[in-house]
Structure formats: structure tokens, C-alpha cells
Amino acid sequence: MPGRPWFPTGVTGAEGRDPAVRSAVRQGVSVAVATGLYGVSFGALSVVAGVSVPQTMALSLLLFSGGSQFALIGVVAAGGSPVAAVATSTLLGVRNALYGAVVAPLLGVRGWRRLAAAHLTIDESTAVAVGQREPAATRAGFWVTGAGVFVLWNAFTLLGALAGDALGDPRAWGLDAAAGAAFLALVWPRLAARRAQVVAALAVAVTAALIPVVPAGVPVLAAAAVAIVAGLVATPRAGAGTGAAA
């Protein structure tokens, strides 16, 4: 029977028959499996960095943002200060605030559900949610992806942490190289834009120049400072205003 249902979808379960919702759920599940799997590498690298298994699980359960988690253990592994570790992790988490502002009006939730939605607001859940065309599919995509990643990411973090504990010398297994590869994989899809490439080159130069002269953790923060300046001063397009001679 054609036409819209008179009842609100999402309350009755009618959205289960909506092909757009089913498609969003399928996307969410596949993203959750792919993302959850690399929780193994986080878990292993974390214990190798000197973070205990319970602390590693606390990061995946409570901090729950892949980039920030890898960054925090990276600073710890390099012997950086707690302040540098927290600052690097938190700066990487700033984008989650932007994601929250994007998805909040699409989800329209209050109370404890809003807290749950906030905790599950990460790259993957936001990407699947905003990729949908229908409101019901957007909601389904967000929740399936967010909850799916949360469950699998934590399960595989535990697996990796227990395995990493049993590995012995991490360098013999190439786990130090795996950390660099993990960061490269996280940044790779963000390097398409010209401006991002310029900032990436500046970040390489600043980091390499500072590593020999400042404590661990500081070069990464200096690279972030360069990006903040670049983002604030760069003009979005040429030709605007009166500064033709400048």
C-alpha cells in the first residue's frame, strides 16, 4: 500500500521494512566490523606502550575515539608528560564536538539517550548518519554504527591487549612500525584537499625540527598550533574584500 504511515516510524518498528533503513543498517554493520577489527592493533600497541590491560580497556570504554586513544598511548610510549598526552588526545577529540553539532538535530533525542548519543559520536557513526537521505535511515545508521563499533572495538581491544601482553619484545614483531602505519591510515583519507596537504607538510617539518630539542609530546602539540594558525588566518577564497594589493 503506497503513502506514508500515519504513525511515527521508529516507534512502531515499521522502519524495519523500509529499504533505506535496511540499507543504513547494513552500512552500519559493515563499518562496525571493519572498525572493530582494528581494535586488536590498539589493544596490542597499548599494552606494549606500558599501559595496563585495565587501563587499555578504560580507554576503549570511556574515551572511545580511535585517533585520541592511539595518540594518548603514542605519547605515553614516547615518554611524554601526562599533560602532553591529555592535550594531544583532547585536541584530536575536538572534531567530535563538530560531529555532535551536526548529528544532534538529526537524532532529536533527550535525557540519557542524548548522553549515549554523545558518547557514540565518532567519525564512523557520523559518516554513516549523514550519508543517509531519510530521517529514519539517518537515525538507524547512527545508532547501529555507533553501538556496533562500541561493542566490537571493545571486544577486539581486549583480545589485542591480552595478545600483546603475551608477545614479548614488541620491536621483534614490528609493533612500533604498526603504530606509525595506524596513524598514516587514519590521516590518509583527510589528505585529499590542497590545504590539508600544505598543513601536513608543515607538520612534518615542525615535528622533525623539534624532536631533537624539546621533550616528547611537545612536537605534536607544536604541529597542532601551526594548523590552528593556518586555519584561522587562511582566507577561504581569493578576491574578497579590498586587499587587492596585499
Partner: protein, 106 residues
């Protein structure tokens, strides 16, 4: 870091992570919707991740060194260019470094 300091680091970072996420959900959308804020946030993410790649690959304490991690990163970049999934990229990099070290280099 001592165990206590590390726990404090983990918990403070977790609290700040949730605070940022929650702030995004609670504050009016137009506050964060300016182009300048979005652009800066994107660039900070790129700079931090790239900087971490450099530290993880070339730093040995405060020294810059070239060892088995460098070819491993090159293999990772090739795998990414060929659109390999994350876990494959990481495993190939680890296997490259482990293999080179087993052969006695880096």
C-alpha cells in the same frame, strides 16, 4: 609515568573526550557551523595525525633515526594507495619491520 599518574591521564582524557562530544550535542549548532571553525578543526586533526606518524617512525627518544620503521611506513603508504583496509595496512607494516629485523637490519 607511575600507575597512578597513568590512571589519572586515562580518566582525565576520557572525561574531556566525553565533555567535547556532549558540548557538540548541547550547544546551538550555528556556533560551530562557521567555515573557519570547521576548517581549523579539520586541519588540526590532519596536523596531529601527520606529526604522530613522524614521531612514531623517526623518533628514538630525542634522536631522529632511520631504521626498519621507515620501509614499513613506505609499505603502509603503498597499501593505502591500493585501498587496502586498515587492519591489512597495519599488519603489512608490522610484518615488514619484523622481517627486516629478523634479517638483522634496523
Amino acid at each position: 609515568m607511575t600507575t597512578t599518574v597513568l590512571w589519572a591521564t586515562v580518566l582525565v582524557a576520557s572525561l574531556l573526550s566525553l565533555a567535547l562530544k556532549l558540548a557538540g550535542h548541547l550547544i546551538p549548532q550555528h556556533w560551530l557551523a562557521t567555515e573557519r571553525v570547521q576548517r581549523t578543526s579539520t586541519l588540526v586533526t590532519v596536523a596531529l595525525l601527520v606529526s604522530l606518524v613522524v614521531v612514531q617512525t623517526f623518533a628514538d627518544g630525542q634522536a631522529l633515526v632511520v631504521d626498519a620503521r621507515v620501509p614499513a611506513l613506505a609499505v603502509a603508504a603503498i597499501a593505502l594507495a591500493l585501498r587496502a583496509p586498515f587492519i591489512v595496512v597495519v599488519l603489512l607494516a608490522a610484518a615488514t619491520a619484523a622481517g627486516l629485523r629478523a634479517l638483522g637490519w634496523g
